[in-house]
């Protein structure tokens, strides 16, 4: 079902924060656009800890496991004694495990970031304004036709420069 919405464009950060406060009180469904990561926006929205933390931890642990397994497996094939060292020596294998830990710990979360961030996109949505990557903030509020007037009033009172209707 195509839902309509409103996009408010803000020049100033404090206006945006005021709008977010009001939208949160009204329990609206919204997305904020910003040219830069600002902790003030994160705090205003009240975001929970990112899942990237857990993904990175699990990925790094899997890297250690893979690295050690690879090294131990290869050395177990022939049981060579190299320079009088034990057949399965832990010192050099720490290096292998460590490097795979870092490799997996970055590659897998990178893929996770693409998935959670919902990128890449085939095309930008109609509600995206190019000014959001330069010097403007945006709020996309998903609402029915009946709530438009109220939301427009809320955004304009907060200090929105423009409020535009969007579909989708």
């Amino acid at each position: 079902m195509q839902q309509s919405g409103l996009v408010g464009v803000f020049e100033y950060l404090d206006d945006l924060l005021a709008a977010l406060e009001a939208l949160k009180r009204g329990k609206s469904d919204f997305t904020v656009f910003a040219p830069v990561a600002l902790h003030e926006i994160k705090e205003a929205i009240g975001m929970k800890t990112s899942r990237m933390r857990l993904v990175t931890l699990l990925a790094a642990l899997s890297g250690i496991t893979f690295g050690l397994s690879l090294a131990v497996f290869t050395v177990e094939q022939w049981h060579f004694v190299v320079s009088g060292k034990p057949v399965v020596p832990w010192i050099p294998f720490v290096i292998v495990a460590f490097e795979f830990c870092i490799l997996f710990g970055v590659v897998i979360p990178f893929v996770g970031l693409l998935i959670i961030g919902r990128i890449p996109r085939l095309r930008l949505p109609s509600y995206y304004d190019p000014r959001f990557s330069n010097d403007r903030f945006g709020v996309l509020v998903r609402c029915g036709e009946g709530e438009h007037e109220e939301i427009v009033k809320l955004l304009k009172e907060a200090g929105a420069e423009e409020v535009n209707e969007v579909q989708g």
């Binding site: 656009f33 830069v36 926006i41 050395v75 060292k85 490097e99 870092i102 959001f132 330069n134």
Partner: protein
């Protein structure tokens, strides 16, 4: 930088991008010619065999390994600036981290070519990889050469992903300021990033973890490279100081290369108010510090060699007085004495002296690798096997090709990608507030 608005930041950084003038085209064409020269020399070597290089017993490692270690070393300070200083929240890092990380990637790419070049039979490189085969043969994971394969590939992959992740929002900014096919290309490269709050949230978390994971690579990768030498029994190589010695040397040469790259970039792009003199000064001060570490390392090596007596003592005396004495004293002068000039404020706040001293440090660090890699096997245990190594014209050609490749890639980056991190500079800029507090 502190007083720029978001719009001013975007415009200032995007302005130099895109249209290439005659000077730029000429310089890039020169570097491209250099790559052709290097590639031709490599092609000649593949057709004729490794004998066209000067390496032969007992000096089995020559300029190919010297350049390999040199370029990996250059790479490390890029990660130090972009990852380690990010964790320390050092504000002066913001304007230079993008270019520094780009330097890292291009340096690692260039370095990664040298094991292939030195292989001779480059089509057999896959033998080093752990793939199942009928003879059940596997690489030896106890060998530092295999550690190297894993460490360098990991370093290249991690650095590229870290750099690219940081680039995504900036590519979106460039996309939004572009039109036509440029807009399409930057749109694809930016993965059509929108700057939505959930995107920034996960991005911020991921970027922090990438920085945290890239940090130990700065120490570990060049330690692994140093163990290519230290895990042998060659006098002059088999020393426990090699890991910290090489890592400090890597930072030393890398920071100097950052100055060599960024000073012209800053001047040509008129980035003086973004890349401040304070930033360049901080790099210079860090070079003084790493220079001291290098001097201490040289002193320790020579003291321990003298204290050990025998082969070790003789090997180090020969470095100072033998066939490669000239290279040794250039190394000592450029790495230990020249950085001391940065103690003078006038010299560390002047772009010309910053650049020249940085260049001399890089030359000194290249000679240091030469003295270690060629100098040790030239004068090892057996006097009957004492020889002298000279690079051939083919090796010089390949070396010129490697420098050309590095600068070619960096020039392309500087013209077609945002050379300064737009989003991070905006983070440092004053917030756009309607109601400013007193």
């Amino acid at each position: 930088m502190n007083e720029m608005s978001y719009n001013e930041v975007t415009r200032a950084i995007i302005r130099p991008m895109g249209s290439a003038g005659t000077f730029y085209k000429c310089v890039v064409a020169f570097w491209f010619l250099g790559i052709v020269v290097g590639g031709s020399c490599w092609g000649y070597q593949i057709s004729q065999g490794l004998g066209v290089a000067g390496v032969k017993n007992p000096i089995a490692w020559g300029t190919y390994l010297i350049n390999f270690v040199f370029w990996v070393g250059i790479a490390h300070s890029g990660t130090l600036i972009s990852a380690i200083l990010y964790l320390f929240r050092a504000k002066w890092r913001t304007a230079i981290s993008r270019a520094a990380e780009a330097m890292t990637i291009f340096a690692v790419m260039t370095a990664g070519l040298f094991p292939l070049i030195h292989l001779g039979r480059v089509w057999l490189v896959y033998w080093i990889l752990p793939y199942p085969n009928q003879r059940n043969l596997w690489p030896d994971f106890q060998s530092p050469l295999v550690f190297d394969v894993i460490a360098i590939s990991t370093y290249l992959t991690v650095s590229t992903l870290f750099w690219y992740t940081g680039l995504i929002p900036d590519l979106a900014a460039v996309r939004d300021q572009s039109t036509g096919w440029r807009r399409k290309i930057y749109g694809i490269l930016s993965l059509n990033w929108m700057g939505a709050h959930y995107q920034w949230h996960h991005y911020g978390s991921a970027y922090l973890f990438f920085a945290a994971l890239a940090t130990p690579l700065v120490i570990s990768v060049h330690s692994v490279v140093s163990w290519d030498f230290a895990l042998s029994i060659m006098p002059g190589w088999h020393s426990t100081i090699f890991a910290p010695y090489f890592v400090a040397g890597a930072i030393h040469s890398g920071l100097a290369m950052v100055l060599v790259l960024l000073i012209p970039l800053r001047t040509l792009y008129r980035f003086e108010n973004i890349i401040s003199m304070n930033t360049l000064e901080n790099i210079a001060k860090t070079i003084i510090f790493t220079g001291f570490i290098m001097s201490y390392s040289y002193g320790t090596e020579h003291f321990i060699a003298w204290y050990s007596g025998g082969v070790e003592q003789d090997s180090f005396m020969w470095r100072m007085t033998g066939h490669y004495a000239w290279e040794f004293w250039v190394m000592l002068f450029c790495n230990s004495i020249v950085p001391l000039f940065y103690f003078f404020k006038k010299l560390r706040t002047n772009v010309y002296s910053l650049f020249v001293i940085g260049l001399l440090v890089d030359i000194g660090m290249w000679y240091e690798r030469f003295v270690i890699i060629a100098g040790a096997p030239a004068h090892a245990h057996d006097p009957f096997m004492w020889r002298v190594y000279s690079p051939t014209i083919i090796e010089y050609g390949i070396m010129f090709g490697s420098f050309s490749l590095f600068f070619f890639l960096f020039f392309l980056f500087a013209k077609y990608l945002p050379a300064v991190s737009i989003a991070e500079v905006k983070e440092e800029a004053p917030r756009p507030l309607r109601r400013r507090t007193a």
